[in-house]
């Protein structure tokens, strides 16, 4: 069952919240992280007890594969409609409570971001940068105004809202909310124990919450983050400085940055892929390859592709596109990743597909069994159980120290 949510660490750039605003945000967090899994478990039971057997009978006992067919059958049930409708409402309420609480402080937060003492990292904005249409066409995952909304010069609203939303949204995102970065760091330590990156780049870094994990893990490395949104980056820079973390942020499109070829040992992204577009993601992979120094590595964190999960979970996943303003979520998960990596310039021997839950398992057999069971049951949203995060990994040549035997 869902764990008790932990609070995130407060820092000086964070929007203040009143007693009742905090209670309101925690109420939404409880609904999101504890009620929704309970409601979803009901739909899952319904599927395996009644819907799936009926579909199977209808097609002469053949296994049910098509998630669109599952979706059509599931929507016949009022319970499922209530479950999905409640899911959407809680997403909307998350932002409703956040905007309500953050909006009166916007000018003050912008001023704070501008005047906070700094000197560890840097911020380079490009007012001429065209924010790509896949970022602005709809407000991704329903954050009002989206990532790049800028109401006045110096605005940091998108960052201030996003920062508090992470802890409300994601199970396990307590403390510094750097859980995705830490997952990659743990993966690297386990699978590539000799790898010591000196320059690191985080693509689509938003407020830099994942980026910080690399500064903590590799204190001697120079760490950069790029994003297309100025409001996110202003906030990211002020947030990093306030926390005493050195990151160099610049406003750039990850499809083509201005860094020289071979500049980085490690290029990462965290749940960026599914928020891009069919033309952009191949370009970002090719740019990752271009930026790698010999012996370097790129790791892109997202959730599994549809053919890596069971049909029921495919239906659950696809709901993000139907109900949560994630137009590229499902199309991305239908893409052929080995093919994409090859087109981006990675040889087959330089391409790896890993899952954090398997990598993190102390007992690999037990972890594999858990993954198998999770595939069968098709429940829950990773991380937390099952496959965990899915990592798309590419190397440029041989990586120092090589790949751990147990990771093979």
């Amino acid at each position: 069952m869902a764990e008790i949510p932990r609070n995130q660490a407060e820092h000086p750039m964070m929007a203040r919240r009143s007693h009742d605003d905090a209670a309101r945000q925690k109420a939404v967090r409880t609904l999101r992280q504890r009620l929704l899994p309970r409601l979803a478990a009901g739909s899952r039971e319904m599927y395996y007890r009644t819907v799936e057997p009926a579909l199977r009978r209808r097609q002469d006992g053949r296994p049910v594969e098509d998630f669109r067919e599952i979706r059509a059958a599931m929507l016949e049930h009022p319970y499922v409609r209530f479950q999905l409708g409640t899911h959407r409402v809680i997403q909307e309420l998350m932002y409703e409570t956040l905007v309500d609480s953050v909006e009166p402080q916007l000018e003050e937060l912008a001023e704070k971001a501008r005047t906070l003492p700094r000197g560890l990292g840097s911020l380079r904005l490009d007012p001429a940068l065209q924010v790509p249409r896949y970022v602005t066409a709809v407000d991704i995952h329903c954050q009002p105004g989206g990532y790049a909304h800028e109401a006045f010069p110096g605005d940091v609203s998108a960052g201030a809202i996003y920062d508090r939303s992470i802890n409300m949204y994601q199970q396990g995102a307590g403390g510094m909310t750097d859980y995705m970065g830490r997952a990659v760091v743990q993966y690297l330590a386990k699978a590539w124990p000799g790898f010591r990156p000196r320059r690191i780049l985080d693509l689509g870094c938003t407020i830099g919450h994942s980026t910080h994990a690399y500064v903590r893990a590799f204190p001697e490395a120079e760490v950069h983050g790029v994003d297309v949104s100025a409001p996110l980056l202003r906030y990211a820079h002020a947030r990093a400085e306030a926390l005493g973390i050195a990151v160099h942020f610049s406003q750039q499109n990850a499809e083509r940055t201005d860094f020289p070829a071979g500049h980085f040992d490690l290029v990462v992204s965290h749940i960026l892929a599914h928020e891009t577009a069919a033309h952009a993601w191949p370009a970002i992979l090719a740019e990752s390859r271009r930026l790698l120094a010999p012996g370097g590595m790129t790791v892109h964190v997202d959730l599994p592709q549809l053919d890596e999960i069971d049909p029921y979970r495919r239906f659950i996943y696809a709901n993000e596109t139907h109900y949560n303003n994630e137009p590229f979520w499902t199309p991305y998960r239908l893409m052929d990743l080995p093919q994409l990596m090859e087109s981006a310039g990675f040889a087959a021997a330089e391409t790896y597909r890993d899952f954090t839950a398997v990598m993190a398992g102390e007992d690999r057999q037990k972890a594999r069994a858990a993954v198998e069971q999770s595939r069968r049951l098709g429940h829950g949203a990773p991380p937390g159980s099952g496959l965990g995060f899915a990592l798309l990994v590419g190397t440029r040549g041989a990586v120092g120290g090589g790949r751990a035997a147990e990771a093979a």
Partner: protein, 118 residues
């Protein structure tokens, strides 16, 4: 006054992009949203009360067990009943109004006296 910058537009509340409907009748979507929002407000009130109880206990004015052990006297019980009744009438106001309208429109039956919606 003349140099004051124009007030900035309010931050958007509605996410750009079509809003899916989950029920045949869109008003059920609205009702669901209102109910979940009310649940969060109830949680907020409950949390405020919890803060109050803890602060009062921390100041030594009472122990929290005293709240659980509290038995209202007859006067308090009457006031509470009044509050419960008022709240339930407010929450069920539409249903009660429907009854009132039905009574107003229908001629009084043989046994309903003056047709009050009681």
């Amino acid at each position: 006054m003349s140099t004051a910058s124009p007030p900035r537009l309010p931050h958007p509340r509605a996410a750009r992009g079509p809003r899916p409907e989950f029920f045949e009748d869109g008003s059920s979507d609205t009702l669901l949203a209102m109910n979940v929002a009310l649940l969060t407000e109830l949680m907020v009130t409950r949390e405020r009360l919890d803060t109050l109880e803890r602060l009062v206990a921390a100041k030594g004015l009472l122990r929290r067990e005293e709240i659980d052990a509290f038995e209202p006297d007859e006067a308090a019980e009457r006031e509470r009943e009044q509050v419960r009744d008022t709240m339930s009438r407010h929450v069920f106001y539409l249903l009660l109004q429907q009854a009132e309208r039905a009574v107003r429109q229908a001629p009084p039956g043989p046994d309903t006296g003056d047709g009050a919606a009681g």
